[in-house]
Amino acid sequence: MSASDDLTVSGMRRRRRARRYEACRESYGDGVIEVRDISKRFGSVEAVTKLSFDAHPGRVTGFLGPNGSGKSTTMRCMLGLDIATSGTARFAGLTYREITTPLHSVGSLLDAGYVHPGRTGRNHLRWMAMSNGIDDRRVDETLGLVGLSDAAGRRVKEYSLGMRQRLGLAGVMLGDPDIVMLDEPANGLDPEGIRWIRDILTHLAREGKTVLVSSHLLAEMSLMADDLVVIGRGRLIEQSSVADFVARHSATWTRVSSPMLERLMSELGGAVQRVVRHGETSADLHGINTAEVGELAAVHGIVLHELTTMHDSLEDAFLRLTAGAQEYATAPTPIAAPPAVNSPPVVPPAPGSAAGGTMLPPPSPPPAPPPAPTSASPNGPEGAA
């Protein structure tokens, strides 16, 4: 007997669900997220101010901002959980409230803690599935996908935070939605779990789904995101691709290693704006590029072991861009780093930084301070000698 010949109640129910599911998928069309002029005010505090951005199918869009910048509030407003003071968010042309069974079109995970601790993991997914007419078999499938099959019968209060994140992600994938929205999904996950989340999200994007993900793990974001939406104090600071963002906002410098470093330094003279030494044979040179250093070394017969263009990581660029937009900032704390020595003409240190040391971003400096020297987390070489 074929599925269409199944005249039992459960068979008819399955066919009705399948028709509804297909109707939903067709009506939602492509999966563009359009946020337009969303504002949200809590009493006298304006948490989000006229925020607009787009997220497109086939791309992971990173939603970045310092703590308290309004990322979670924006996501709650997009889903209609917080009532936006003004503005709209549309998912493939529909507001969230216009979608009758949203798990088929928009999967969201705002916090892995939004689970009743006394309910089992499987039952948590089952009530979600029932509410949107999703078959119970899909529950077991998604539990398998997130690696929770063995723990599905345990109460959620016995789950670790990482297991709750996996359960939350199972809920996101329950209806195989075209749009995925996640707020800090890597929270509480171990490195393997973080990598797993990254692989899942990039896989979903490759399948053509729209992925909007907020995270404070900027290194992870740089490995995962195609586009960035950066906000600060509830306002849009920038929307662009990751590559454009880093290119526009990150500082570059030249790393050189040479057994004849002292001689190289004296030959460079005033051509270098600032020098950060790393031991006897290595230094970061600001204000001069690799070609200039290489040519000068060749002219004077100086042996080079390394000659690399370094640039800031996404994290450095992000911190620099949002430095003035942090609601709660730490006081400058120096991180141990080799002091600068043998500096030719040294530019005064950036606000909040010490010569030769790496500093956390200043609390509220004026816009875009000059790049602080950093020896940490370079985003990789572009050329080497």
Binding site: Y96, P102, G118, N123, S131
Partner: protein
């Protein structure tokens, strides 16, 4: 809507507390009725009116327990923030609250029915074995009392849900469900009595609903008490739905 009702019913029955509280209440009702049937010295003089009086009196506590359960059901959604995935799965808030109210009422109906049938059935068997006459009858109001047990359970289930939806806080909602008749309406009734208002019970919805489970047709009457309290319970649900339709969750 059917899917939503199934989902809400599933949520209600997959939390242990929602099973233990009514089981405890119904168990208590059956136990008390059985003890009365077994321990009363002159069983042959005990009739259906006496038995339903016992069941009706204790059923007030059972119904309160049902109200506590439904109020905890909705407040736990807010306390554990599960209301967010609930409304993310079904963003039409009024549909969610209507489904929850229906499920609460059905829950009250089932627990009230089980309590009434089990307690009366066991009491009747025990008393019959001791030559008691305990046949239910429409003439002496005993049948109405047993129906009243079920209706009161349904109304208190709705009342508990409505209170919980409005206050969104578990301890506050439970306190209100339990203390409303004992404290709030006692004070209001006292004030009305001092003010020499005739039949002050007719202005006290919760207390007037107790006439549903009173064997003799006492003032202000079963129908009045049931309708008055029912309207209050529905008003609380509607008000809670409207307020939460505009609130951040």
């Amino acid at each position: 809507m059917i899917d939503l009702l199934r989902s809400e019913w599933f949520k209600l029955r997959t939390v242990r507390l929602n099973l233990w509280l009514p089981a405890l209440a119904v168990g208590g009702l059956v136990l008390v009725t059985s003890l009365v049937a077994v321990l009363t010295p002159d069983a042959e003089f005990l009739d259906a009116t006496d038995l339903t009086a016992v069941i009706g009196g204790f059923s007030i506590l059972v119904s309160m327990m049902i109200g506590v359960t439904t109020s905890l059901g909705i407040t736990s959604e807010f306390n554990h923030d599960t209301i967010r995935p609930t409304l993310a799965a079904t963003p039409q808030r009024q549909r969610v609250f209507v489904a929850k109210a229906i499920v609460s009422a059905v829950f009250g109906f089932l627990v009230g029915t089980v309590g009434a049938v089990a307690s009366y059935g066991l009491g009747a068997i025990l008393l019959s074995s001791r030559d008691g006459e305990v046949a239910l009858s429409g003439d002496d109001g005993t049948l109405e009392t047993m129906f009243g047990v079920v209706v009161l359970a349904v109304l208190l289930a709705l009342f508990g849900f409505g209170v919980g939806l409005l206050v969104r806080n578990g301890p506050a909602a439970v306190s209100l469900v339990v203390l409303w008749p004992l404290l709030i309406e006692s004070i209001i009734g006292g004030v009305l009595s001092v003010a020499r208002v005739d039949e002050p019970q007719q202005y006290l919805p919760y207390t007037s609903a107790f006439t549903l489970v009173t064997p003799e047709n006492s003032e202000p009457g079963r129908l009045y008490g049931g309708v008055f309290f029912g309207l209050v319970a529905i008003a609380l649900v509607v008000l809670g739905s409207l307020v939460n339709g505009r609130r951040d969750v």
